[in-house]
C-alpha cells in the first residue's frame, strides 16, 4: 500500500483526537456542544481501495469503490450488535443492504399479508439483489437510524426467486457478484421504490413480495415499510450527506475521505459557496451539456468511472479487453457543463485516461481518469472520479436545507 500522505495523516490524526475528545467511540453516542444543544458526531470515514473482494478466494480487486463500516443492532438492543466493514457507499440508491453471508446476528423479519415474510427484489442497472426485509437499529459515526427497514441480501431462507425478479438481469446475492459486504444507499430518494410499490395489481412493479418457504407473490409495501435511506431516519443531520474525497492524480492504492451527515446542520457541513443543482424529482437526474448537445446526467458514488457517450461521439477508443472503459493513447481533459432543474449551471473539466494503464496493477484501488462508454447515448453517469477533490452535497427529496428543498446536488 502506498503510504498515507502527510496532510491526510494530519487530518486523520485530528479526526482521531476529535473523536476521542467528544467520546464518540465510533458508534452511537451523542455529545453536547457549546450552546447546550445536542449534536452528534456526523463524520464517517470512507475509504476507496481494492475492497473486500481483493484477496482470496475471489481475487477481484475493486477500483474506485468507496467503502465504510456500519453497526447494526437488533432494534432496542445494545448487545445484539455487529459492525460490518466493506460496505459500499452509494449515492445512487437509497437504503442499507447487507449480505446475508456477512451478517452474524439475527434481526426481526418484516411481515406482510398473512404474517408471511416480506422479501425484496431491488433492480440495479446491472442486475438485482434478492432477500428478506428485516429491521435494525443502524449506528454510523454518532448517528442512529432506529427501526430501519433494511434488505438482507441472499441467504438460505427464500431461495425460490420469482421469475418476475430474476428477469432483471444478473443476480448479485453473494460477495463475488455484489463486490461488497453490503450497500449503504444515501442518495437523494428516501425510499427505494416509492409510490409505485404502494399500488395494487399490474401497476405494482414487483419489488416487494410476501413469501412462504416455497413461493412468493408481489405485495404492496407502504412508504414507511420500504427499505429507505437511513439518513432520513436520523434524529438530526437528516437532510442529506456530503461526500468529501481528496484530489487524485493518476492511480493510487487507497485514499480516505469523509461521509458527512447533514447539510447546514452543524459547523462542519455548511453549504458554503457550493452551487445547488436541483434534481428532477421523478427521474433523479440533472442535465449535462457536452459538445453543444444536452443529455441527462447524475452523480453516483456507486459507479466506478465516468460513463458517457461512445467512441463515435467522443473519439476515445475503448480498451481491447476492458471494453467498458476508454483507452485513449494520451490523457484527455474534456469539459462539460452540468445544469440543475433550477437553471444553475457550471462548467468543469474532467480526466479521461488510459484504463489499461490505470488498472494494470491489481493493488491499485483508486484511479482518476477512469472513464468509459455509456452507449445508449443520452446519459452522463458521473461516477466516483467526479467526486475526487470535491465536496459533493446530496440533499434528500422533501428535506429542507440552507440551499432550499431537496432533492439536489451541490458542489
Amino acid at each position: 500500500m502506498k503510504p498515507v500522505r502527510p496532510h491526510e495523516f494530519l487530518s486523520l490524526f485530528l479526526a482521531g483526537i476529535l473523536t476521542s475528545t467528544v467520546g464518540c467511540g465510533g458508534s452511537s453516542t451523542s455529545t453536547s456542544s457549546g450552546g447546550g444543544s445536542t449534536t452528534a458526531n456526523n463524520v464517517q470515514t470512507i475509504t476507496v481501495n481494492t475492497g473486500p473482494t481483493a484477496g482470496p478466494p475471489i481475487n477481484s480487486p475493486a477500483i474506485n469503490e468507496a467503502f465504510t463500516s456500519v453497526t447494526v443492532c437488533a432494534p432496542g438492543s445494545s448487545s445484539n450488535c455487529q459492525t460490518i466493514s466493506g460496505i459500499l457507499v452509494d449515492t445512487g440508491s437509497p437504503g442499507l443492504r447487507i449480505l446475508s453471508s456477512a451478517l452474524t446476528i439475527s434481526l426481526p423479519q418484516q411481515t406482510g399479508t398473512g404474517g408471511n415474510a416480506v422479501v425484496e427484489c431491488l433492480p440495479f442497472v446491472d442486475g438485482f439483489t434478492w432477500g428478506p426485509v428485516q429491521t435494525a437499529d443502524l449506528s454510523i459515526a454518532g448517528e442512529q437510524a432506529k427501526n430501519l427497514p433494511i434488505q438482507i441480501i441472499g441467504g438460505t431462507a427464500f431461495t425460490n426467486i420469482p421469475t418476475s425478479c430474476s428477469s432483471n438481469g444478473a443476480e448479485e446475492d453473494d460477495l463475488k457478484s455484489l463486490g461488497a459486504n453490503g450497500i449503504l444507499g444515501v442518495g437523494s430518494f428516501v425510499q427505494d421504490c416509492g409510490d409505485a410499490c404502494t399500488t395494487t395489481g399490474s401497476n405494482n412493479p414487483g419489488l416487494y413480495y410476501t413469501c412462504t418457504s416455497s413461493s412468493c407473490s408481489v405485495t404492496t409495501e407502504s412508504l414507511t415499510e420500504q427499505v429507505a435511506n437511513p439518513v432520513a431516519f436520523f434524529a438530526s443531520d437528516n437532510n442529506g450527506v456530503i461526500i468529501d474525497l481528496p484530489g487524485v492524480t493518476g492511480a493510487e492504492a487507497s485514499i480516505s475521505g469523509s461521509l458527512v451527515f447533514g447539510i447546514g446542520t452543524q459547523s462542519n457541513n455548511a453549504l458554503g459557496s457550493a452551487t445547488v443543482y436541483t434534481i428532477n424529482p421523478s427521474t433523479g437526474d440533472i442535465t449535462t451539456r457536452f459538445n453543444n448537445n444536452t443529455y441527462s446526467g447524475f452523480l453516483d458514488t456507486g459507479s466506478n468511472a465516468i460513463f458517457f457517450l461512445n467512441t463515435a461521439a467522443t473519439g476515445f477508443p475503448t480498451c481491447t479487453d476492458l471494453t467498458f472503459f476508454y483507452c485513449p493513447t494520451s490523457t484527455q481533459t474534456p469539459s462539460a457543463t452540468n445544469q440543475g432543474a433550477n437553471g444553475a449551471s457550471g462548467t468543469f473539466t474532467f480526466t479521461v485516461a488510459n484504463a489499461d494503464t490505470l488498472t494494470s496493477n491489481g493493488t491499485i484501488g483508486v484511479a482518476n481518469g477512469l472513464a468509459g462508454p455509456n452507449s445508449i447515448a443520452n446519459t452522463f453517469d458521473w461516477g466516483l472520479p467526479f467526486f475526487f477533490g470535491r465536496k459533493v452535497y446530496t440533499a434528500i427529496e422533501g428535506q429542507n436545507t440552507p440551499g432550499g428543498l431537496g432533492p439536489y446536488w451541490a458542489y
Binding site: L88, V125, D126, A170, F189, F307, F324, G372, I376
Partner: protein, 151 residues
C-alpha cells in the same frame, strides 16, 4: 422515416401473426410480451421496419423493431424499472446475464452495461427509478437502418 400510428392492443389481436415479433423471434412474441407485461401496444409501419410500442402499467416504454419479414431485430426500453428482460431478450437473455457476470470479474465495478458480442449488443444505463436500455442483433438490422435510428 415517417411512421403512421396504426392500432391499439385490440386492433393488434386482429392482425395476422406474421406482422408481429420479440428479439430474434418472429410474429407471436410481441403479443406474448404484451400479455406477460399486461401492457398496451401501438404499432406503426415505415419503409424498412415495423415499430411496436409497448407501454407497461409500471410506466416502462418499450419499443420492438421488426424487419419487413417480421423478425424483431432490436428492442429498447425506458422507465423507472426494468421491463421483464427475460421476456424481452428471449433466447438472448442468458447470454446477456452471463456477459454481465464476466464483466464483473474484470474490475468493472458498478456502472452501465455495454455488451458487444458478434451476434448481440446490449446496453443498459441509468439508476433506480430511471433506467434505459437497448438490445439489437447487428446482423439482422435491415438495409438502411443505422444503430442510431434505434432509440
Amino acid at each position: 422515416m415517417r411512421l403512421t400510428k396504426a392500432c391499439s392492443i385490440l386492433g393488434i389481436l386482429a392482425f395476422p401473426f406474421s406482422l408481429l415479433a420479440s428479439l430474434g423471434r418472429d410474429a407471436t412474441s410481441v403479443q406474448e410480451d404484451v400479455a406477460k407485461m399486461q401492457a398496451t401496444l401501438h404499432t406503426s409501419s415505415g419503409n424498412s421496419y415495423t415499430l411496436h410500442e409497448i407501454q407497461t402499467p409500471t410506466a416502462v416504454a418499450i419499443k420492438e423493431y421488426a424487419s419487413p419479414v417480421g423478425q424483431v431485430f432490436a428492442v429498447t426500453w425506458k422507465g423507472p424499472f426494468h421491463p421483464d428482460l427475460r421476456q424481452l431478450l428471449g433466447r438472448y437473455y442468458d447470454e446477456y446475464v452471463q456477459a454481465v457476470r464476466t464483466r464483473r470479474a474484470q474490475r468493472a465495478g458498478r456502472g452501465p452495461i455495454l455488451i458487444q458480442h458478434a451476434g448481440l449488443v446490449v446496453e443498459v444505463s441509468g439508476h433506480l427509478r430511471s433506467f434505459t436500455g437497448r438490445a439489437y442483433i447487428p446482423q439482422q438490422l435491415p438495409a438502411g437502418i443505422r444503430v442510431e435510428d434505434i432509440k
